[in-house]
């Protein structure tokens, strides 16, 4: 079921005949940003701050996350509305610091690998109110040092984050607010239902989450997508309101069908709950983790991963 009514607009109905050919000419000139997962990872460096789009166990760029898992990258700061992306990166020892409001698998409320990392003290952490987190992305997107909010006053958010500062309103009210600093990202990874080769991204599910802000907040944004389509087909499956990632904010496009697996990616597919349960169970059992890792995470490409999935019965 699709949250939006499909709005297919026959081109000839709205554009004069000459516009169609001109549109095609413009598309032909557009820069082609297609690349592979491994090419994306080769542009990342140790110690980088990397934002990951999606929310919990929803529309996460998992093929890109797995490419990081099988690379030599280390000491990453990962910024996300966290799900199995943070869990997997923690389990594989890639994370120096996690920045999050929560880390959850949705249908499994607590992310077991992330919990282990926190409980063993393996990672540094910046835990914020999840709305304040949005303002950190927004500040970075708008290139201002911070956005003010009431969120955090009175709670332990300021105790947990001694570097957080407050600001006083310069107006007559003089109200004190928390200044959420800009989350400057070296790179962002997002997953879209559709995109063109130039990096215009489209979400077809019920929620964009904050993927547009991740793209704007980052020096480099890499977008994976279920399907690369010609620019002139971007309105075939969704209305103009679904075209929320503009190519001026993207640097690479990776075609990855089922690229968000095992997280959900509606309307293309739902969450693979059985697979997610298997993943979660590996946190309690080192042997199960090794088997999971060698079967799925060590698959040398997304195509091989899909084959491993197919072999599941």
């Amino acid at each position: 079921m699709r949250a939006f009514g499909t709005m297919t607009t026959p081109k000839e109905a709205v554009l004069p005949v000459w516009a169609g050919s001109r549109a095609r000419a413009i598309v032909a000139a557009m820069v082609d940003k297609r690349m592979t997962e491994d090419e994306v990872v080769s542009e990342l460096k140790d110690g980088m701050t990397i934002g990951i789009g999606g929310w919990g166990s929803r529309r996460k760029p998992m093929s890109l996350v797995r490419a990081i898992l099988r690379s030599d990258l280390k000491d990453l700061t990962v910024v996300a509305y966290g799900g199995p992306d943070i869990g997997l990166l923690c389990a594989a020892g890639k994370v120096r610091r996690a920045v999050y409001g929560f880390v959850s698998l949705d249908s499994i409320p607590l992310e077991p690998h992330f919990r282990q990392a926190r409980q063993s003290g393996a990672i540094e952490f910046t835990e914020l109110d999840e709305g304040a987190f949005y303002l950190g992305l927004l500040a970075a997107s708008h290139r201002v040092p911070f956005y003010p909010t009431r969120a955090g006053l009175g709670s332990d958010m300021l105790v947990m984050n001694p570097d957080l500062r407050t600001v006083t309103s310069p107006y007559d009210d003089g109200e004190e607010l928390v200044a959420i600093p800009a989350f400057k990202l070296d790179a962002a990874l997002i997953h879209m239902n559709r995109a063109d080769a130039g990096g215009n991204g489209q979400f077809l599910g019920p929620d964009l989450y904050f993927d547009d802000l991740f793209a704007m907040a980052a020096d480099k944004t890499y977008l994976s997508t279920e399907k690369i389509v010609p620019t002139e087909s971007l309105l075939d499956e969704g209305s103009v309101h679904t075209l929320r990632i503009q190519r001026i904010f993207t640097d690479g496009v990776v075609e990855a069908p089922r690229g968000a697996h095992f997280t959900e990616c509606p309307p293309d597919y739902g969450r693979d709950e059985a697979f997610q349960r298997e993943y979660a169970a590996t946190a309690r059992d080192p042997e199960a983790w090794e088997a999971f890792r060698s079967t799925y995470l060590d698959a040398p490409s997304h195509a091989e991963y899909l084959k491993a999935l197919e072999a599941r019965s």
């Binding site: 409001g101 955090g152 009175g154």
Partner: protein, 255 residues
């Protein structure tokens, strides 16, 4: 005929959660957890028809529909992706009814971690939206397992600040703070005391005040002349059982 005697604890708790929203009018009713969700929908279906509520994904359904059935038909009255939810939080037109792994006598809530947050004994959800919720709009809590490890003398992490923290914070930052009520499997609690200390508002039928005191690690106010939580009406029982939760999903929170 009247099925009042047959109302079970989960149904009594659903109604107690619904009552949290009484008088709220036209705001976003945002319960989290099955019993609160059924309660919120019940309030909207009965005495608070102006409430809007979320489908817990991204829309506001205008019709009554059951929990736990993703295919139930929805009449969509608006779209509320997470970004809009945060905007609504900050606008103040929202009342959240959420869980608490720990809660203390001032209504401080913890859903973040058990033990020292630097290296917790048990990492829980994280702060989530609790810090922002509490300083922006009305909040209520649902605790399905009332015992001395959930009703604690002092929470390990303050996710949602209570009345002592708000007194310390002072005006004007505390002006939107209200912890309306706490519903547990034993009773209903509020902060209608001189110093906003938690008191017993009612105990559920069959529960004694002694049981509540025994299960609480701090001193509760209002232990004299305690009334019983009201029972669901026949109409409410019908709505809970036949319309809002025919699969009985609410019962799973009482294990």
């Amino acid at each position: 005929m009247s099925s009042i005697a047959e109302a079970t604890i989960d149904e009594i708790c659903v109604v107690a959660c619904a009552e949290a929203f009484r008088g709220d009018g036209e705001i976003l009713c945002n319960p989290i957890g099955t019993v609160p969700i059924v309660g919120g929908r019940l309030a909207r279906a009965t005495f608070e028809p102006d409430l809007v509520y979320t489908d817990t994904v991204a829309v506001l359904p205008a019709n009554n529909f059951p929990v736990g059935d993703p295919d139930a038909p929805k009449v969509v009255e608006s779209w509320v992706p997470y970004r809009t939810v945060f905007d609504i939080v900050w606008s103040g037109k929202r009342h959240v009814l959420m869980g608490a792994s720990q809660i203390d006598q001032w209504g401080n809530q913890n859903i973040a971690a058990i033990g020292d947050f630097r290296q917790p004994k048990a990492q829980l959800l994280g702060l989530r939206g609790a810090p922002g919720n509490l300083v922006n709009h009305t909040t209520s809590y649902w605790v399905p397992n009332h015992y001395t490890r959930s009703f604690v003398a002092s929470v390990d992490v303050v996710s949602g600040p209570g009345y002592d923290r708000m007194r310390e914070l002072g005006s004007p930052s505390n002006r939107f703070h209200e912890v309306r009520r706490v519903v547990s499997n034993l009773g209903v609690f509020d902060f209608q005391t001189d110093d906003n200390r938690m008191r017993i508002a009612s105990v559920h039928p069959g529960v004694t005040v002694e049981q509540v005191i025994e299960a609480t690690a701090f001193e509760l106010a209002g232990t004299d002349d305690v009334v019983e939580t009201r029972l669901p009406s026949d109409e409410e029982l019908h709505l809970i059982r036949e319309v809002l939760d025919p699969g009985g999903a609410r019962k799973a929170e009482f294990r």
